[in-house]
């Protein structure tokens, strides 16, 4: 009963936010620039939350998320531009193919740990990029022209689905298994958790939503090129999760919003933006390695401390 209540509260809040912003867009208080920023924020939140599931919840340090973004972007572009199918279908296809890519990448690499896993995912992301670079069907290095179809409504719906799925996954039995793996893999294994299975599941779900984000991304920028899915893109996504707090979903969402706004204003000063980003990364790691929120969620601040103590580890 309580869960249902929380779900409807969440939906109500979501609908209110949507109505307000849609109203601002239709009354043209928000011009095209602001609308664009909002879409970028939604895409970045999807990316941040999907990576949060892999790094923050399951504790598997993947730095190749841009690879799945690239898969989603290219697949959706092929579906709409080459096959002339509708955009929502393209988004779904992008997610599914990215999930398959996640499965192919995840099964061999997730046996690795820590640094090795990081490097292997980075390597796979580079391989994916080089594959797209070498396929003439999708334009090679010159890239692929994509019509602009992404709007605020569809990105918001995708964002909501992502949030609902990932929050529910985290609070389910499977999510708890993932948290156990994050805390101590050997102990989780000893408790009878099939660690490989859960790591791969988290990775595949993460890749699925990264693929959807890729579909939105591709249809928001008129052109996609392999060069825009390099290591720096993975780094951009990584910093959302790290700054927000490894293990905090609301932290990832907040830092995605914050950093997207910051980078929109620093668009003309790419170097300054990268200097600020890397400084943030270093300073956060040196002085607050748990990130802004740690493993807490924003809702924790509204519930009383007593209730939190009763709930115990439930709201991880």
């Amino acid at each position: 009963m309580k869960m249902i209540n929380r779900f409807w509260k969440f939906m109500l809040l979501a609908i209110i936010i949507y109505t307000i912003i849609q109203l601002l867009i239709t009354t043209e208080v928000f011009n095209l620039f602001y609308t664009n920023t909002l879409i970028t924020i939604a895409i970045n939140i999807i990316l941040a939350v999907s990576l949060h599931l892999v790094i923050g919840i399951t504790g598997q340090f993947s730095i190749g998320h841009a690879g799945f973004l690239a898969v989603g972007a290219y697949i959706s572009a092929i579906v709409t531009m080459k096959l002339a199918l509708p955009f929502p279908l393209a988004l779904f296809a992008a997610g599914v193919i990215a999930a398959v890519a996640g499965l192919i990448v995840g099964i061999p690499t997730l046996r690795l740990r820590g640094d090795y896993l990081a490097i292997a995912t980075l390597g796979f992301a580079e391989i994916i990029r080089i594959i797209f670079l070498n396929i003439d069907y999708v334009g090679g290095a010159a890239g692929m022209v994509v019509s602009r179809t992404t709007n605020w409504t569809i990105s918001y719906i995708c964002l909501l689905i992502t949030l609902i799925v990932i929050i529910n996954f985290t609070n389910s039995r499977h999510g708890r298994a993932c948290v156990a793996i994050r805390e101590n893999e050997i102990a989780a294994d000893a408790m009878g958790i099939n660690t490989t299975y859960y790591k791969v599941v988290a990775f595949v779900i993460g890749s699925f939503f990264a693929g959807i984000a890729g579909g939105l991304y591709a249809h928001n920028f008129y052109i996609i090129q392999p060069a825009s899915f390099g290591f720096l893109k993975s780094f951009d996504i990584l910093i959302f999760v790290v700054l927000g707090g490894l293990g905090s979903l609301s932290g990832a969402v907040l830092s995605a919003i914050l950093l997207t706004i910051v980078s929109t204003f620093l668009q003309d000063y790419a170097e300054t933006r990268m200097i600020i980003y890397s400084l943030i990364l270093i300073l956060v790691m040196l002085y607050r390695p748990q990130g802004l929120m740690g493993t807490r969620e924003i809702t924790d601040f509204f519930t009383s401390r007593k209730k939190n103590a009763l709930k115990g580890g439930e709201n991880l």
Partner: protein, 291 residues
């Protein structure tokens, strides 16, 4: 004869990878950190060499020495400022910091200098020798000589000198080394200094061999050198050398067979295969994980 030619090209490329990989492997061996900023130290080395040759009018060897000294100082500074505090934190925190330091160096450099590439001046007379019908330039012979001399020097430092003994002790067991009266902090700093100096030398050699340098040139050779280090067995010095040469030869062969666009992918495929089938590398021993 084509293949002998390609083999020599591979050796030249491989010697650059090997020099960078040595720094990776030494640092990883001693503090278990993948020093992502190592590729950027290599870049700074190349630019220092460029500056020394074109502005200070130095010849090859003084420029090489200057680049090595500058890089050693830079390496120690990075270690002291960023990595020293993280010695007791999680591996992931250290890795994220290393990525941050790498990007910071790149973009501060671009901020003050601009991103445009630079053509390396010719400091070495270019002659071509004919060996078994393959054309070998004097440059690649010299590069190979410098690399081999630096490697022998490194082997000597690590195995015959007191500081090398301290480095091996710290890599083996940091706490026990401390109890034996070894200054762990200084030993780690010296490891960074030596590794970075080798990367600086690799930077100058890269500049002379490929004649074009730019502020983001360190990323790909840095990653490749890391692959070389993993290939040979990370933490093992001869492994890094062999891994570097092997990777250089494989890449040249892939390019020569007409797949030059897949060259970078080949390196990453090697990395993934080695990580899956033999994570401890060619020379590594399997270590069981204890709870």
């Amino acid at each position: 004869m084509e293949w002998i030619q390609q083999f020599f090209n591979g050796i030249s490329l491989g010697s650059i990878y090997a020099l960078i990989a040595l720094g990776y492997t030494m640092v990883y061996g001693i503090i278990k950190l993948i020093n992502f900023a190592h590729g950027d130290v290599f870049m700074i080395g190349a630019f220092t060499g460029f500056f020394a040759i074109s502005v200070l009018n130095l010849s090859f060897l003084p420029a090489l020495l200057l680049a090595m000294i500058v890089c050693a100082i830079l390496g120690v500074t990075i270690e002291r400022i960023a990595y020293k505090r993280l010695r007791n934190s999680t591996r992931i925190a250290a890795l994220i910091t290393a990525i941050g330091v790498s990007l910071l160096i790149e973009y501060i450099f671009i901020y003050f200098r601009g991103a445009q590439p630079e053509a390396y001046p010719e400091v070495l007379a270019k002659e071509t020798y004919n060996i078994f019908g393959a054309k070998i330039s004097s440059q690649s012979v010299l590069i190979l000589c410098v690399t081999v001399i630096l490697m022998i020097l490194l082997q000597f430092i690590v195995h015959r000198s007191k500081i090398g003994k301290a480095m091996r002790a710290v890599a083996y067991d940091q706490d026990a080394a401390k109890l034996m009266g070894i200054n762990v902090d200084n030993t780690i700093s010296i490891t960074f200094a030596i590794g970075s100096a080798l990367a600086g030398a690799a930077g100058v050699i890269f500049g002379i061999y490929y004649t074009k340098i730019d502020p983001l040139m360190g990323i790909i050779p840095g990653l490749k050198a890391f692959i070389a280090a993993v290939l040979g067995g990370i933490g093992i010095i001869p492994g890094a050398m062999v891994g570097g040469f092997l990777l250089g030869i494989v890449e040249t062969v892939v390019s020569a067979s007409g797949f030059s666009l897949w060259r970078d992918a080949a390196a990453f495929i090697i990395l993934i295969l080695i990580l899956i089938f033999r994570p401890s590398g060619i020379f590594g021993k399997n270590a069981k994980e204890k709870v």
